[in-house]
Symmetry: D3
Subunit: 226 residues, 6 copies
Amino acid sequence: MSQTPAKAENPATADTPKPDGGVPKQEASGTTAKSARDDDTVITALELADAGMTPAMQAYFDKCTEKLGFIPNVLKAYAFDMPKLEAFVAMYNDLMLAPSGLSKLEREMIAVAVSSQNRCYYCLTAHGAAVRALSDDPVLGELMVMNYRAARLDRRQRAMLDFAVKLTAEPWAVEEVDRQALRVAGFSDRDIWDIAAVAGFFNMSNRIASATDMRPNSAYHGQKRG
Amino acid sequence: MSQTPAKAENPATADTPKPDGGVPKQEASGTTAKSARDDDTVITALELADAGMTPAMQAYFDKCTEKLGFIPNVLKAYAFDMPKLEAFVAMYNDLMLAPSGLSKLEREMIAVAVSSQNRCYYCLTAHGAAVRALSDDPVLGELMVMNYRAARLDRRQRAMLDFAVKLTAEPWAVEEVDRQALRVAGFSDRDIWDIAAVAGFFNMSNRIASATDMRPNSAYHGQKRG
Amino acid sequence: MSQTPAKAENPATADTPKPDGGVPKQEASGTTAKSARDDDTVITALELADAGMTPAMQAYFDKCTEKLGFIPNVLKAYAFDMPKLEAFVAMYNDLMLAPSGLSKLEREMIAVAVSSQNRCYYCLTAHGAAVRALSDDPVLGELMVMNYRAARLDRRQRAMLDFAVKLTAEPWAVEEVDRQALRVAGFSDRDIWDIAAVAGFFNMSNRIASATDMRPNSAYHGQKRG
Amino acid sequence: MSQTPAKAENPATADTPKPDGGVPKQEASGTTAKSARDDDTVITALELADAGMTPAMQAYFDKCTEKLGFIPNVLKAYAFDMPKLEAFVAMYNDLMLAPSGLSKLEREMIAVAVSSQNRCYYCLTAHGAAVRALSDDPVLGELMVMNYRAARLDRRQRAMLDFAVKLTAEPWAVEEVDRQALRVAGFSDRDIWDIAAVAGFFNMSNRIASATDMRPNSAYHGQKRG
Amino acid sequence: MSQTPAKAENPATADTPKPDGGVPKQEASGTTAKSARDDDTVITALELADAGMTPAMQAYFDKCTEKLGFIPNVLKAYAFDMPKLEAFVAMYNDLMLAPSGLSKLEREMIAVAVSSQNRCYYCLTAHGAAVRALSDDPVLGELMVMNYRAARLDRRQRAMLDFAVKLTAEPWAVEEVDRQALRVAGFSDRDIWDIAAVAGFFNMSNRIASATDMRPNSAYHGQKRG
Amino acid sequence: MSQTPAKAENPATADTPKPDGGVPKQEASGTTAKSARDDDTVITALELADAGMTPAMQAYFDKCTEKLGFIPNVLKAYAFDMPKLEAFVAMYNDLMLAPSGLSKLEREMIAVAVSSQNRCYYCLTAHGAAVRALSDDPVLGELMVMNYRAARLDRRQRAMLDFAVKLTAEPWAVEEVDRQALRVAGFSDRDIWDIAAVAGFFNMSNRIASATDMRPNSAYHGQKRG
C-alpha cells in the first residue's frame, strides 16, 4: 500500500503543518460523557479478534496517534484483517485527501450531508468534527448534520450537496439533467466523478457503521465547538 | 395569561436556582460562527412588524434575558402578534415545565427525536442544547439529533422515543398495541398523553420553523459541549 | 384566558348570527350509526380523570352546547387538566377564528388537507363538517378529505394547500421557493405565517388524536350533507 | 357478454329486490354542490367520442338508470369502446356480485380501503356510498375512506383489510406469512384469491380514474348519510 | 366470450403468422433451472380446485399450447373459475392486442416498467420475455426490468413510461400537467386512455400475482436472449 | 497493490481452472442488441481522459481479457486515475474473492439484491450474470434482480439478504436484533461483517454507476441463460 504516513485519517489535522494540529490531544480524557462512556473501548457490536498489524499499518496508526491524539475507531474496527484495513485506508485517503477540484472541506460536507440522509451516528460525529475544523465555522458542521438545506451556501456548494443527497436517497432517478446542473454550477466532469465517489463511499461507510453499531471516538464531540 | 415570570423558555436554565444558570450569558458574543452570522438579527424569512409588547410578555422577555442571556428567537418570531405569542408561551410552558410523569429531560429528548425525524434546524439546535444541559451529558444531545436508536437508553426511554417517532412518521398507524407497549414500559395513561402532546407540539413547531426558515440563537451552538 | 364566549369551537356555527346556527342541534340523536355507537361516551383510549372545570372553561363548554348542541370531543378529552385545556382553546380560537388574511373556510380547508395527509379520523370528521358548513358546498368537504388535488380550486387556494401539504409531508424540504410561490399567488408574509401556523397546529392535533384514538362526536357525520 | 340485466353496477341497490332500490332516484337533482357542478356532464379530462352502444350494453345502461336513477360515470367513461366496456362490466360484476366467501359489503370495504391508500376521488365517493348502503351504517363508509385502522372491526375483517392495504402499498413484500394470517382469521384459499382480486381490481380502477380525472356522479355524495 | 382463437396470450407469438412463432416450443424442457424447478407444476401458493373448462376456454388453451408451446401459468391460475378466467382473458386480449395508437411493444414496455415498480416476479418474467421478442432487442427487456430510465428511449416512449410509472407510484398526484406532457409528446386522448388502462391492468395483475406467489412458466427465462 | 493476476474481476470465471472459463470470449460480438449498441464504447456520461496504465493495472486488464474475453466497463471507467483504479480493484477483490464464511455465490447474491433495491442497471447486469454463472442456475439471477423474496431460499440465505436489503433501504434502523437474527441463522460475527461490507460496497458502486450512467458490457446479457 502506498499512502504516505503524512496522510492521516482526519483531514482536520492531517494537513496541518503544526505538529499538534488544531485539536489538542487528549482533550476529552477524563471528561467523557456518560453516553460515550464505552465508545473508546467497545468499538463495534461484533467480536472480531485483532489481526497482527503489518508494519505499514502500524506506522499509520502511530502517525494517527501522533497527529490526532487517537486512532479513529473505524480504523480499529477494520484491524481484524489487514487486507481490508489497507484497502479501506487506500480508498479513503485517495478520496478525501488526494488532489481534486473539490476542496477537502467540500468533500467533508458531502460526507456529512450523505451521513445525515442515512442517519449514521459514527460518520456524523467524526465528519461533523472535520467540517467544523476545516471550515473554522462550528455552525457549518451542525447545519450539515441537521439539514444542509438550512445552510447559507453558494450556488456551487448547494448544487453539489443536492446531487449527493439525491444520489443517496434515490440513486435510480439520477440522470443527465442532474449532471448538467452540476456543470452549470461550474463543476467539471472530473469533479462530478469526485462528488459521486465521495457520496458513494459514505453510502458504504454509513452502512458498515450502522450494521456493526460502530461508535465514534469520544474526543470528536467536543472538538472545534466555539 | 398566567405563566409566571419564573417560567423561562429554556428549561436548561429556567429551573436552575442559581441566578446565572449553567450557561454563561453572552458566551457566544464576539465569536459567532460565519454560518450563524445573521441568525441573531434576521430571525425568519418573513417580514412581520413587531406588535407592541404587552406588559406580561415584556416581563417574560426580560426574565428570559436575565436568566438565559438572550431571548429565544422563536419568541421574537411570535412577537408580531401578542395573542399568538401568549398562546404559544402558555402551551409551551405547560407542556415542557409543568408537573408530569415525564422528567424535563425526557420531554426535551422527545423534542429532539421528533425534530430529528423532521430535520428541523431551529428545534434541533435549541433543544439539542437543552438535552445537553439537563442531562449534563453532552453526547446525549448529539445522539438525539443524529439517531436516537444509537443511544444506550433504558427500556422506558427507548419505548417513549419509539412511540414519539412513530407518531411523527406515520401517525395513522399508531394503535392500541403502541399504547400498550408504553404501559408495559411503565407509563401511565397520563404519561401517554404527555408523550403524545410533546411529540405533537414539536410536530407543530418544526413546521412553523421550517415554513419560516427560523434561525436559532447563535448562543445555543456552543452551550454545554464538554 | 381571554376568548369571548362568542367564539365557539366549530366555526361553522360560531360566527353565525342566527342563535341556532346552521347545524340543527341534536340532529343525529337517536340515529347514531353502529360504527359510532360509543364515540360520544368513550372519547379516547386513555383513562384520565376529569379535573374540576374552571368557571371560564365551564362557561365555554356551556356556550358550545348552546351553539352546537354538543361539546366537541377534543375539548372533553383535554378536560382532565385545566391549564392544558385553556392553552389548547386559546391557541385554537386564535388560529381559526381571529382576523387573518385567510378566510375561516380557507383555514378549515388547510385543516382537512393536512389531516388527510396524516389520515386522522377525528380531525377529518370534525373539520370536514366545518368545510361543508362554511362553504355551503357539501362536496368540497369530501374533496378535502379524499384528495384536495381533485378539487377545482383557484390558483390561490391551490397554492395554499400545496404549501400546507408539503409542509406536512416533508417539512425539511420547504424553502424560499415555496414561500415565493405563495407570494406570487397573492399571499402576504403574514398570510404565510397563518398558513404555516394552521398547518402546524393540525400536525399537532392529528398526532394527539391518533395517539389517543380520539373519537369524533357522532353528530358531525350527518351535518351539511345535501 | 353474459352478465344479466339484474346485475347493476352499484351493489348497494343492484341486488335489492325492491324495484326502486334503497337509494331514491334523482335525490341530488337540483341541489348539486358547487364543487360537483359539472361532474355529471364532464366525466373525464379526456375527449373520447362515444361509440354506438351495443344492444347488450344499452340494456345494461337502461337497467342502471331504472335501478339507481343514474348511470355510474365510470360506465359512461368506458362507453367510447364497447369491447372495453364489456370487459370492464364483466370483470366488475363477477368480482363484486358473484358468489364468494366474502360478503358484498366486505368486497366494498376492500374497495374503499384500497382507494383510500391510493387517494382516488372517484372510487372513494362511489364505493364509500356503497359501504354506507350495504352496511346501513353511514359512519362505516367514512371510516373506510379516512383510516380503516380507526374502525372497530372484528379480527376477520381487520385481517382482510390489512392484507388488501399491504398488497396495495408494498405488493413486493406480501409473502406466505401474510396468506397464513388470513387463514388463521378464517379465510379459505378461495377467499384469499377473492381478497387479492378485489384489491387488485381497485388498484387498476383507481389508476384509470386518477389518470383521467374521472368525476363521480354527484348523487353519491348525499346517499345514505344518516 | 368473443376473443378469437387467433388471439393468444403472449403477443410475442400471437401475431406471428408462422405457426411455430418465434419461440421454439419446449425449448426449456429438460433444462429447467433449479430455482424454477416446480414453477410449471405448483403455480400458486393457493390450493384451488380446477373447474371444468368451458369449450371456449379449452379451445383457447389449446391454441396457446399450439402457438407458445405452453399455457401461460396466469391462465392456469384463473382456471378454477370460468367466469373469472373469461373476464381476465377478454380484458387482457383487448388491452394488449386490440388496435391502439400504442404498438404492442409499447404496451409490453408499460407492462414491464409498471411491474418493475411493483417488483412482480411473474409479470417481469413473462412480459420481459415479450419485450425481448417484440423488439428483437434482448437488452431492451432487461432495461425495462431493471430501470427504464437507463434505456435510450425517444421522447415519446420516455414520456409514456414516466406517466405509467408515476401513475403506479403515486396515482393521487397525477394531474392535467401530466396528461398535457403526453399530448406534447404526440399522444392523443385515446392513447392516454390506453396508457392508463395498460398501467392500471398491470397494477392489478402484479398484485394478484404477488398475493398468490404466482410462478412464471420456466420457458420464459431463456426466450430471446441473444 | 497486491492482488494477484489470478484474481480477475468477474468471479464467475476468475476462479475457474479452465483457461477459457465458462463464458466463451466474444460471444456477443456481431450480435449486440440495439439497446446496448454503444455500451462497449461509451462507458459513462463523463468525459474523462485515460491516464496511462501502470504496469500492474495493465497486467490486470490483460488478465481480464484473457479470462473473460473483455475488460469489465467499471474498470475502464476508473482508468482515468490509477490510484482510484487500484483502490477499487483492491477492495473489490478482497471483498468478493478473498476467503470468507460467505461463498462467492452468496456474495454475488448480496450484490444483486442490493443493486435491485437501488435499481442499478450496471450492477444488476454484471452481477446478475455472475449469479447465473456461479450457481449454474439461470433463474436464480433473475430472482435476485426482480425480487429476492420470490426465490426459494434456505433460512440462512434469506436472513442474509433480508439484512443486506434492510441495511440498504433503512440503514438507520439496523440494530442488535437484526444482527442477532443473523447469528441465529448460523452466521458468525465475522460473517456479519462480510455481509455488511459487501452490501455497503454495492451501495457505493450502485451510486457511482448511477451518477455516471455507467453501461455494462454487452456480453453480460446473454451469458449463462439456459
